[in-house]
C-alpha cells in the first residue's frame, strides 16, 4: 500500500469521524425534558426550597443554557456527581441564567443534561443570582458557570444566598478551583458522611 493510498484512507477516516460526531450530537442533547420554574423575585422560590432541604447536602449550579462549557459542566455534574452518589440526602438546584443570549425557551433542552430526580431546575431571568454570587464569591464579574456546594447546616436567611462551603467554576480571569467534577463529588461525599 503506497503513501498516497494511506493518506486517502486517513483522510476518509477523519471525514467519517467528523460526520459521525455531527450526526450524533447535532441532533440535540439526548434525554428527557425536565420541568423548570422561575427562581422568583429575589430568588425567593429557590430560597424556600433551599431552606426546606435543610439537613441535606445541596448543590447550586449557575449555568447558561446556550453555553457549551456550561452544558458540559452540567452534564459532568449529572454523570460524575449525581451518577456516582446515590445518597438521597443530596439535592441539586440547577439555575439557568440568561448569559450568552440565553432565553427561557432554551432551558427545556438544556435540562436534558441533568435528569436526576434529586435536581430541580430553575430559570433566573432577572439574573438576580448572577449579581448576588458576584458579590458573595468576590469574582469581579457576573457569576455563571459556577458550581456551589453547601453542607447540611447551611441556611439562606437574608436577601443574598449564604457563602458556599466549596465551589468550582469554568470562568476565565477568576481565582478558585476550575471545575473538576470528580473532585467536586469527593467534596460532596465528605459532607454526606
Amino acid at each position: 500500500m503506497n503513501r498516497s493510498r494511506l493518506l486517502w484512507i486517513a483522510a476518509a477516516i477523519v471525514a467519517a469521524t467528523g460526520l459521525a460526531i455531527g450526526a450524533v450530537y447535532l441532533r440535540g442533547i439526548p434525554g428527557p425534558t425536565r420541568p423548570h420554574q422561575a427562581a422568583g423575585a429575589d430568588a425567593s422560590t429557590l430560597r424556600e426550597a433551599f431552606n426546606a432541604d435543610a439537613g441535606k447536602v445541596r448543590i447550586i449550579a449557575l449555568v447558561s443554557p446556550t453555553c457549551g462549557a456550561c452544558l458540559r459542566g452540567a452534564s459532568d455534574l449529572q454523570n460524575r456527581v449525581f451518577g456516582t452518589i446515590s445518597d438521597p440526602s443530596l439535592r441539586g438546584y440547577i439555575v439557568w441564567v440568561p448569559k450568552l443570549d440565553g432565553h427561557e425557551n432554551n432551558v427545556g433542552e438544556a435540562t436534558h443534561t441533568i435528569a436526576d430526580p434529586r435536581a430541580t431546575h430553575y430559570w433566573d431571568g432577572d439574573s438576580y443570582l448572577v449579581r448576588s454570587y458576584n458579590q458573595i464569591l468576590q469574582l469581579g464579574q457576573d457569576a455563571w458557570d459556577v458550581y456551589l456546594l453547601y453542607g447540611p447546616d447551611a441556611r439562606w436567611d437574608g436577601p443574598n444566598p449564604p457563602q458556599p462551603q466549596y465551589w468550582m467554576h469554568q470562568l476565565t480571569g477568576v481565582t478558585g478551583p476550575a471545575l473538576d467534577a470528580n473532585a467536586f463529588a469527593d467534596h460532596a461525599r465528605a459532607l454526606l458522611d
Binding site: 498516497s4 483522510a11 455531527g22 452534564s75
Partner: protein, 115 residues
C-alpha cells in the same frame, strides 16, 4: 509522478481540513450565542467536549499539511529519452495546500474561549 504527488497532497489537504474543522468546532464551543445558533445545544455540548483535544487535533492537522507540502514540493526527476526532467505537483494542488495551511493557522490562533 505528478499525478501521484497531487493525489497525496489532496489527501493531505482533506485530512488537514477535516482535523482543522474539528478543531474549529472545539474552539467555537464558547465564543458566544452564534455558536449555539449554528451548532445547536447538542453541537455546543459536543464542541465543549472536544475542546480539551484541540491541541492534538491541531497537531494532526499540522502532520497532514506537512505530508502534503512535502509531497507536493519535492522534486521528482522523470527520465525521458535519457534526459532528467524535474516535475512537481500542479499549481492547483499547491494553491489548495496553502489555503488549507492559512485556514489551519487561523483556527490555531483563535482564542480557545471567547466570552
Amino acid at each position: 509522478m505528478t499525478r501521484q504527488a497531487g493525489r497525496t497532497a489532496i489527501a493531505s489537504v482533506i485530512g488537514a481540513l477535516g482535523a482543522a474543522g474539528t478543531s474549529l468546532m472545539a474552539t467555537l464551543c464558547c465564543v458566544g450565542p452564534a455558536a449555539y445558533t449554528v451548532l445547536g445545544a447538542g453541537g455546543a455540548l459536543a464542541a465543549a467536549r472536544l475542546q480539551p483535544w484541540r491541541p492534538a487535533i491541531l497537531a494532526a492537522s499540522a502532520v497532514f499539511l506537512a505530508l502534503g507540502f512535502w509531497s507536493a514540493y519535492r522534486r521528482r526527476a522523470v527520465t525521458i529519452d535519457g534526459q532528467a526532467c524535474p516535475v512537481k505537483a500542479s499549481r492547483t494542488v499547491r494553491t489548495t495546500l496553502w489555503a488549507a495551511a492559512v485556514l489551519t493557522v487561523a483556527i490555531a490562533l483563535l482564542p480557545p474561549v471567547l466570552r
